[in-house]
Amino acid sequence: MRETVVASPMLFRVASFDTPVVNLTVDGRSIQARRGESVLAAMLSHGGHVRRHEHGGAPRASFCLMGACQDCWVWIGAGERARACTTPVADGMEVSTSPTVHGG
């Protein structure tokens, strides 16, 4: 199931990064972030969830935001798994929210 992150942004940014812009894709959709942002912050600044649950498909947008609940695992590039809340964005990063879409 191809699931794109399209919804109103979850997060409300109240302080900005004075770092270079990085370009990444989430399920093939281009988004911009700043160096220093977590993959999770970047995803939830552009959409309303991080993934669909593997049992039942309900949307999830992570929970603990500190690397404990493990509810924000995504795929980076050609199948490497990463926890979005503790992984910083990088230029050219290709994020997939389900294993079937990695690599485009």
């Binding site: 940014r13 649950h53 992570s62």
Partner: protein, 455 residues
């Protein structure tokens, strides 16, 4: 030279490392985060223009002192940020960092692993927009983001009021603070809370600040549900002797205090005991933090007490480790530290009364409520498994039967609720709770690493 390994670079770990770094031992500090601070002193990501002085208010001085100390300590020891300690086995800590696995032997191990939010499941708690209370603060401090524009802060914890104040200072809107403990219980707890007058004063100050800003504070309410389809849109709660209220919001910060991260202590062979005041399992230690042969526990990973107590217990644990290794230190005022931690035990009784863990809620939740968010296991599935065991099932058996607690978080978030369901079914409302056993790795490892780490 003997090697002491400290796990965690929050207030307890840095305080321990500070003492150790001035003794003739080799010191390694392992921290999963990229920057020292833990949750309590979490610092912004590099390049984030967040005014921490404004955000923390009177708490800024302690934050600044910590980070100055941490920078100095980390430059003097073998500091390894971005490194997960995923297991303890055979006198060594097992580490994973940037795709590489290593074992690090120790002569003494100081565990300063901190705590995470304690959660009682409630209908809708897995909806996007519902985050832990600690997470809501972490995201603000680390990433400069609020979890939403109009936030309900709820559960029962002194951090409810702190988080709400910080969100207001940062420019957010607080739709309401819903504290599930009655105000009368807060008054009842006052004598014990006076054991930590500074913490009490800060809490009252935050409540007053919220009232001045017109924030609605509801005491003693039951949280009925977080409502929404693709995202949370409201919290439904029932204040005492009133009709249910529906409070519109676009995000929820939720938590019932903290539960210690005891996984590494358990793997290191420390005994855990059920603490009746805190209603959770903690490593069995003496007052200095000795938890087993060569293993010491400090900070919230042992006993929930907040940042100041964590630093004191970190110094005591370091002094105990040095003394047991035959190295001496004159830097630590042991008696003053022990007196402070004893006062803290009294304060904790107060905290547990003023911010009650609502264990009985587990018995009232509908069968359809998700208990285990990793594996999507419902209350009904867990109750059915317990019924098959004639109503008295140990939680690790329930885990095996239902997969509740078997997912990636290893029961960190469903464990407390599961223990209550099991106790209610076994009709043991007042007694000790069961505990899910831990397994290494305590957090998921990348698959590429798995071949390197098989012991």
């Amino acid at each position: 030279m003997a090697r002491v390994v400290v796990i965690g670079a929050g207030p307890a770990g840095i305080a321990a490392a500070e003492v150790l770094s001035r003794a003739s031992v080799e010191v390694a500090v392992i921290d999963e985060a990229p920057r020292a601070g833990g949750q309590y002193h979490r610092a912004p990501a590099p390049g984030l223009a967040l005014d921490m002085r404004r955000l923390l208010g009177t708490g800024y001085a302690a934050y600044e002192t910590f980070h100055n100390d941490a920078a100095s300590v980390c430059s003097r020891v073998d500091y390894r940020p971005g490194t997960l300690a995923w297991g303890v086995h055979g006198g060594a800590v097992h580490l994973a960092s940037r795709g590489a696995a290593k074992a690090l032997g120790y002569d003494a191990l100081v565990l300063a692993t901190g705590a995470t939010d304690r959660i009682m499941p409630v209908p809708g708690w897995t909806l996007p927009g519902v985050f832990t209370l600690g997470g809501a603060q972490a995201l603000l401090k680390d990433q400069g983001c609020l979890i939403g524009r109009r936030v309900v802060v709820c559960g029962s914890s002194p951090l409810l009021y702190l988080a709400a104040v910080q969100y207001l200072r940062a420019g957010g809107e607080i739709a309401a603070v819903i504290d599930t403990t009655r105000f009368a219980d807060k008054l009842r707890a006052l004598p014990d809370m006076l054991a930590a007058p500074r913490v009490l004063r800060d809490g009252l100050h935050h409540m007053a600040a919220l009232k001045r800003r017109g924030v609605r504070i509801i005491h003693g309410a039951t949280i009925d549900a977080f409502e929404g389809e693709e995202r949370v849109g409201a919290v439904v709660c029932t204040p005492p002797n009133r009709m249910p209220l529906r409070i519109a919001c676009d995000a929820v910060a939720y938590g019932h205090g903290l539960r210690p991260e005891t996984q590494l202590a358990e793997l290191a062979g420390c005994a855990l005991r059920f603490d009746a005041a805190q209603r959770t399992h903690v490593p069995e230690t003496d007052l200095d933090g000795r938890a087993g042969q060569g293993v010491y526990v400090a900070g919230d990973g042992g006993t929930i007490g907040g940042g100041q107590a964590a630093a004191v217990s970190g110094r005591l644990a370091a002094a105990a480790a040095l003394s047991d290794l035959g190295a001496t230190t004159n830097d630590v005022d042991l008696e003053a530290g022990r007196r402070m931690l004893q006062r803290l035990r009294r304060f904790q009784r107060g905290l547990a009364t003023a911010f009650r863990w609502p264990g009985e809620r587990a018995g009232q939740l509908d069968d359809a409520v998700i208990l285990c968010r990793c594996e999507n296991v419902t209350m009904g599935e867990v109750r059915a498994a317990i019924a098959l065991e004639d109503g008295a099932a140990e939680v690790n058996r329930i885990k095996a039967a239902t997969r509740c607690g078997m997912g990636r978080c290893q029961g960190r978030f469903c464990g407390p609720g599961l223990a209550e369901v099991a106790a209610i079914s076994a009709q043991h409302p007042g007694s000790e709770r069961d505990r899910l056993r831990v397994q290494a790795p305590i957090k998921p490892l990348p698959i590429a690493l798995a071949e390197d780490v098989v012991p």
